[in-house]
Symmetry: C2
Subunit: 651 residues, 2 copies
């Protein structure tokens, strides 16, 4: 392996921030139509170039008058004025108000010449023609004014709202509905806004396939996670992502792609492959086609981060160079490094402040030791406690950074200083959420995986459920963090909990369609040469299987271990309740442990070994939580949830 | 006027919420490409339909081995295995690991048949051919393994991340970058998301003109503010706005337009005109072409709100009816009612929770009386106090709801209960921001309007400056709310303040280009028959003019009043520092009070009457605030700000 990848001198995180800040990401100002300006940032100050309103405007329905004609008028002693016409909104006045006259006027209409005030209609009366024995046409009636008004009363003079030349909005203003409203009043058709930095995303690695394309697992292909994740994160930070087709680990192809991305973008991010050779190739391209500013940062994760510049090609539309950042390959690491180092630079270039929701305060739920001598960006889960004054609980999530599920099992990261030795339970921490839109859950459940439970979870507001199995679920419930644990089958651990309800499910052996090997029960697995597929020890299905083997061992007068050893595949365990049946369907095994419902769903055969109890057990400290209350409510409707699930009964 | 508009029985706000909740707004589920799914809401649960990874995957660079071959190996006593080939990421293994052999493997590669663990490269050595006197080709070397591994070590088994059949994401999940990442891992090309409710916006009123079109002020035309404001607010709530062309006040046209909008949308909002006849026409259309559920709500503003349904036409693409809400005509009222009653219904239909940033806590800065017996949605400004533990200050804004500037001078509303008599200064209140993206200012300035000040404000982060004039500015500063006041000219009020700096500006009479009336000074206004245009008493320009008249009055031995009375237009005042010169330019006056810089900008003539001092005065209680610190910094660079402003000097 190349020396270059050794990163012996790791840069400080502050140096990485400085290196990125030194890059020029800022795009040109754009002019956008007003109706597309919402959410953008004003590039320059907007001064009014007209008066609003542009004319002296009646602000009441009533009569336009010369104020001095009304002086002295009151309820007891009205003044009568001759009505000489009417002015409506949107029309040019065709009358002039002279002494002793008035004109009917609608709200929003132009004040007719001569008039300097409006008397609201409620303080006037039409004088009945009979009153004075006169005959008056509609356009030639007399109006009794029962109040006096001062010049300017009920009139909004031209420019009173905004006057031409006034500063209306400053540069850097984030445009929301209300600023759009003011710009409309000023008649703006287009608005100068900060450009969105274009961020090219190049993902590398021969094994990566775009979502939607066919996957060849035999060749070790996996779907490309980083490109779409980073693209979405770029958009959230106010940038415009551009995805480039996959680059393999070939120098020529990588060079061509990176330079093309540099030609077209303000910033190029590469990410994706964990393979050494791809990183090596990128390193060489940056050194030869640009400048490497920094390689390796003293932060966990993210040590292999690269920061540099790529020269644009001579025939590119724009000259100069593009910024470049190389992100780690694991999804959580890539998103963490992006959020910490790259997103702030994109926001800065786009003129957008960090949203107030980007961080959230919380309290460590457990003690967490540390002491690696470099900054740690620790992925954490957050559990909100609505309806209480308690801050959210924060707990470390460490599934290994390669797991994409960490992306949704963690909500953000806590930055732990190099010299922090531990975070104590109860300590206040600040969580940098993966996205300002992340809403941490209000319920944390752990335990068995189960199809009825999946449906029940669908009815809750924002649950997080970790299918760690019944045994591990109980262990965690005892640890005090989760709100509830779901167990299936016999339980070998006594954990204090409140039973919220549950159901039973029929379990057994799932066999190929038509049961070609004629499996009739457990004894066939023990006594015949059949390939079996099991679940691990945390699973409630496994607990019931072990109990059944205990029974058979007692009958036969042998140890359970002996029976287990004679089952081919007893230790061949897979992850989830559908996994053994799916492998059976794929022809990998003659029988797998599973549920009747799964067998029917997958059109497989099923040999029942019994029913097992599934119980939802609440943490005794959380029985009053909003999340647990929602679970209780959902359990009350369990009948409907189980309705078309074969082998399920409420219990 | 029609009885219908009297709204004698106002509905309670809760009835209005219930009426809107009874309407069916929910659009059909959509399927969108993964790259457009960010920010949308999942319409249904997503289960994994494949294992991630889809194969047993090396999670380290190193050697794939049979674990039992390594048992007992350590640094002191390595085990040697025959290297039989290599497996790279993205390639199908072409070797089988048998007892005594190993295969080089890269992170992410498929485990070759026979191997069940990986030894990381750091714990291995290639055995030098010379060591044992053997000659080995590259593909036939021997590897010393310096550690023992257990089955499964450094291998991520198929489905370990997500197993097929597992619940991946629940319905109602808001999709952010991290969920996009998980969906990518599952290979999803499209995602089922909640539809966005289509909201048709119909604005009414003959006087309204779309921004960008020509405005005829003589006819009383104004730009349509509500359509674009509400369209942006619809988008912010997760809906999709559709703007319909203006409807006049004609029944036929209004009916055609409302029914067309109903045919195409889930909800129709009308707003815009304050004219009685338009409201009347809408009322009739809803009654005749649908159903009116509610008219008039006991809330200030918003009494004239309408809620109902409009039947779709028989030839519409979809059957049934559209919801209908009629909003008040004034922009702040329309936005307030939309935010309070309509936005929650749109969010509900779109499956989006109210953003955490939609409300903000604060503390009343002043005592505010109330007691009108109906719910008041009081427009308020918010002043943040960053760097302190103090909550934001909240103060009522009441410019009259017709003013579009209230849209940006207020940040949101405080709901004041009908039975609240007053809110005390210091009382905690919750502000419903006009938009979740509203960022309240961190500096509140008041006082004189000035072109240099406008430039200075451009250099601050989030200032709010109310150009109320020098005199009113000082009055408000004494009231204690603003951070600073800016005054120009002589000041007649002694207000405790800290002088932060300032400049001088040359003021005088702005006259038409070439000074056709040959104006040479104030005496011409007094002694000749010239039409003049003034500023109001709050303006510092007016204060300097009054002082100059005082001087002339003393010289002539008369009262200032006498001189003022002989100036035609002395009481004809307009709003902003550019207003008198602009009217002069339009030919409305022979001279106007103004600045040399304005005269030069507008290519007008200028007769100097002197220089006046502009001072920036800080509230003594706020000299440590972040906003004031920014102002100090900006004032330090005042030289550059004044550089090309004629008649301005630093002082």
């Amino acid at each position: 392996m190349s020396d270059r990848r050794e990163f012996r001198d790791l840069a400080e995180p502050s140096e990485a921030h400085a290196a990125i800040a030194s890059l020029e990401l800022e795009p040109a100002t754009e002019s956008v139509p007003l109706e597309e300006a919402d959410g953008r940032v004003l590039a320059e100050r907007i001064d009014a170039d007209l008066d609003v309103p542009g004319f002296d405007r009646a602000s009441m329905d009533g009569y336009a008058v010369r104020a001095r004609d009304t002086f002295g008028a009151d309820e007891a002693d009205p003044v009568e004025l001759e009505r000489i016409g009417a002015v409506h909104a949107g029309a040019k006045p065709d009358v002039t108000v002279e002494a002793g006259t008035c004109a009917e006027i609608s709200t929003g209409a132009v004040m007719p010449p001569g008039a300097d005030a409006v008397v609201m209609v409620e303080r006037t009366d039409e004088v009945e023609p009979g009153d004075e024995g006169e005959l008056a046409s509609d356009d030639d009636s007399r109006i009794a004014i029962r109040t006096s008004v001062a010049p300017g009363d009920n009139v909004m003079v031209a420019g009173a709202d905004v006057a031409a030349g006034q500063r209306a909005l400053g540069p850097g203003t984030g445009l929301t509905s209300r600023e759009i409203g003011l710009l409309s009043a000023l008649g703006r058709e287009t608005v100068p806004v900060r450009g969105r930095p274009r961020v090219g995303i190049v993902s590398t690695g021969d094994e990566l396939v775009r979502p939607g394309d066919e996957l060849d697992s035999d060749r070790g292909q996996i779907y490309d996670v980083n490109s779409t994740t980073i693209a979405a994160a770029v958009r959230e930070a106010g940038g415009e992502p551009v995805l480039y087709p996959h680059a393999g680990d070939d120098y020529e192809e990588m060079e061509r792609l990176l330079v093309r991305a540099a030609d077209e973008c303000d910033l190029v991010c590469s990410s994706g492959s964990t393979s050494a050779s791809a990183v090596d190739v990128i390193y060489r391209v940056i050194e030869e086609r640009g400048e490497l500013l920094l390689h390796g940062v003293a932060v966990k994760p993210g040590k292999p981060m690269l920061i540099g510049r790529i020269d644009r090609s001579p025939d590119a539309d724009r000259a100069g160079e593009s910024a470049y950042v190389g992100l780690p390959g694991y999804p959580v690491s890539a998103l963490t490094i992006f959020r910490t180092f790259v997103a702030p630079a994109i926001r800065e270039a786009a003129g957008r402040p960090e949203p107030r929701t980007a961080t959230i305060g919380g309290e460590m739920a457990v003690r967490e030791r540390y002491g690696e001598g470099r900054l740690r960006l620790m992925p954490v889960g957050v559990l909100e406690r609505p309806g209480t004054d308690d801050p959210p609980l924060v707990y470390p999530v460490d599934k290994g950074s390669g797991a994409t599920t960490s992306l949704v099992e963690a909500d953000g990261v806590v930055a732990v200083d190099p010299d922090t030795e531990y975070l104590d339970a109860g300590e206040r921490v600040e969580v940098q959420l993966f996205s300002p839109e992340v809403r941490p859950p209000t319920l944390l459940g752990v335990g068995e995986d189960d199809p009825a439970l999946n449906r029940l979870l669908d009815r809750l507001d924002r649950p997080r459920y970790l299918p760690v199995g019944s045994r591990e679920g109980l262990r965690r419930l005892r640890g005090g963090l989760p709100d509830l644990a779901v167990t299936a089958g016999p339980v070998d651990r006594d954990v204090e909990s409140i039973d919220l309800g549950g159901w039973t499910r029929e379990w057994g052996l799932v066999v190929p369609t038509g049961n070609p090997a004629d499996v009739s029960g457990l004894a066939d697995l023990v006594d015949r040469d059949l390939r079996f597929l099991n679940r691990d020890r945390n699973s409630g299905l496994r607990a019931s299987l072990d109990a059944a083997l205990d029974g058979m061992a007692a009958e036969r007068g042998v140890e359970r271990r002996e029976l287990a050893d004679s089952i081919d595949g007893f230790e061949w365990t897979v992850r989830a309740f559908e996994s053994p049946p799916r492998r059976v369907k794929a022809g990998d095994a003659d029988a797998g442990i599973g549920l009747r419902s799964t067998a029917e769903k997958l059109d497989l055969g099923f040999v029942s070994l019994g029913d097992q109890n599934v119980r939802v057990r609440a943490n005794p400290d959380r029985t009053e939580s909003e999340g647990v209350a929602e679970v209780r409510e959902a359990l009350a409707g369990i009948g409907a949830i189980l309705e078309d699930l074969p082998g399920f009964e409420s219990a």
